[in-house]
Symmetry: C2
Subunit: 327 residues, 2 copies
């Protein structure tokens, strides 16, 4: 394994082989690897970049891979460097990533301006999300202009991805009947654009009807603080139509939010969120590794299990033992 210095220099020079190895350190569960990955990230942090982070979500079957392939190649055609990352907490459960698989995006996978990385595995959404967030910093330091972050349209992974991107895109199908679900689950509220995919052939008419349905639905929300009005577009990733319009829209967004400073404001608040998430993770780790906690916890657990003590009382007592030990 190359040294921290070699990896840092490799990343900063845009060497994708060393970038991939640095991300492997980020994804490792070994403490030594994690420490090294933090050093690399720290070294990369000061590099000023102008990247754009785009989150893409949609339920299975909506055509995410084809869409990302189409959007990605339209950007590399403009000379932009595109990284594709993923947050898929289900991939660790199913023991195989369903996202980020290079065979799903054959054109991008063979594009020298593109870099595709499957979803990291992890025992929790928090772990998976953290690894992806750290990989974003490395990709940007390696000179990628655009980072696309894909997620499955189920569960809280969308909220996690929303908290690490500049622009959040919701991919939909016409007539899938899940409009209400998107609204109920708060996804619609997070979207900066709703894109209705597979607007081709016999489906075109329905797609246009869905477009006005979604536009009406978006009107129900109060205006966003950054003064951006979410837009609804249709596209056919398969026929490669409507794709450049999406990229134009994202650039409009970057321009508007750059001018009114909300772009930087959002990044700042995301950094803060990430900081607090890390604090809480380390705090918990330190707690469970504490010798007094290690000593007491199994006896406490036994008592809790048989209702001899309530979980609350037991938790309070364990914390008291922990704090006494720290002194």
């Amino acid at each position: 394994m190359p040294s921290v210095l070699e990896l840092t220099e490799g990343v900063l020079q845009g060497d994708t082989t060393l970038l991939a190895r640095a991300i492997t350190l980020v994804e490792s569960t070994h403490q030594d690897h994690q420490q090294k990955s933090y050093e690399i990230i720290e070294n990369c942090l000061s590099k000023q970049t102008q990247s754009i982070r785009v989150g893409i979500t949609g339920v299975p079957g909506v055509g995410k891979s084809t869409f990302i392939e189409s959007l990605g190649t339209s950007m590399t055609a403009l000379g932009k460097k595109v990284a594709v990352l993923a947050v898929d907490p289900t991939s660790s459960l199913s023991r195989g990533s369903i996202l980020g698989d290079k065979t799903r995006m054959p054109l991008l996978a063979n594009d020298s301006l593109a870099f595709i990385r499957p979803s990291p595995s992890g025992d929790s959404l928090g772990g998976v999300a953290r690894k992806t967030r750290e990989s974003i910093v490395l990709c940007e330091a390696a000179g990628f202009d655009v980072v696309l972050i894909e997620t499955v349209g189920v569960g809280q992974s969308e909220t996690a991805v929303h908290s690490m991107v500049d622009f959040f895109l919701l991919l939909k199908l016409a007539g899938a009947g899940d409009e209400l679900q998107g609204i109920k689950r708060g996804i619609m509220e997070m979207a900066d654009a709703v894109v209705i995919n597979k607007a081709d052939g016999a489906n075109l008419k329905r797609a246009l009807r869905a477009k006005s349905d979604f536009e009406r639905a978006l009107h129900l929300y109060p205006p966003k603080e950054n003064s951006w009005s979410p837009r609804v577009l249709t596209c056919s990733a398969l026929e490669n139509r409507g794709i450049t319009e999406i990229w134009d829209l994202i650039e409009d967004y970057v321009k508007l939010t750059g001018e009114n400073s909300s772009f930087q404001k959002k990044r700042k608040s995301q950094n803060k969120y990430w900081f607090l998430q890390t604090v809480e993770r380390l705090l918990t780790q330190g707690f469970y590794q504490n010798s007094e906690v290690k000593k007491e916890i199994s006896d406490m657990t036994r008592k809790v299990e048989i209702n001899e003590i309530s979980p609350f009382r037991a938790a309070e007592e364990l914390l008291t033992a922990y704090r006494r030990q720290l002194k």
Copy 2:
């Protein structure tokens, strides 16, 4: 407000007015109220009960209210006392609970053997789930034989409810086309029974077809550790058909898992989970209330926001300051 002693005695005597007030303490964000609620729970904990906790999930539109009304009244008809609680983290976002609303269950709401409590509000799923778990203990101490816990079929609230019930029931519609989603999201894996609702009129044939589809799908999973084979049933909550069969099934489950001790084993592991959740919550709370943390955190946050320091380094430094202060 009655005293802790009065509330405890009221709960233990099955007084639903005092039970409701005790739950109000559980749901309160005031520290004083929380402390009181812990004392009441502690007092109630030693009471031996034979209750059954049933989780019920299903996407909006599947007919959960009518189903719970139908299942609940079939149980009160047998003389059983039924409590209905809910975990709906979206209710705090939409500023109004969509679950547990008494007008949705007019028969149960007017049934002297039933107790309905809407979903508590909270700033997070964790908070909402904790409050409901604590309310379960109180309902059981008050003599309720069955506690039905309803949740929306979206997001991680299902996992939370699954972690607090003995039996987990997934409510479905025929031909809703979301079979794959249930599988992908791991809900099917958690289900002890899949019930296809609205199996009536013109829908009956489709419901029977869906039944064999789900049975086939369930066969794909490895046998459960507790040796229970999840079953698929059809019912019409509206016409009140197939409901007693569901209750029979739940009793079969309780019998089987009681005999092979997995019922108690599951409760124990849920108690443990609850204990560790509480530990982590209190640990985090204590951290943010620490004077050194309070002093340092805003300066740290500012540096993190402008990328002067990485979130990881900042988190490490803040924890060092915290531990130094504790000594």
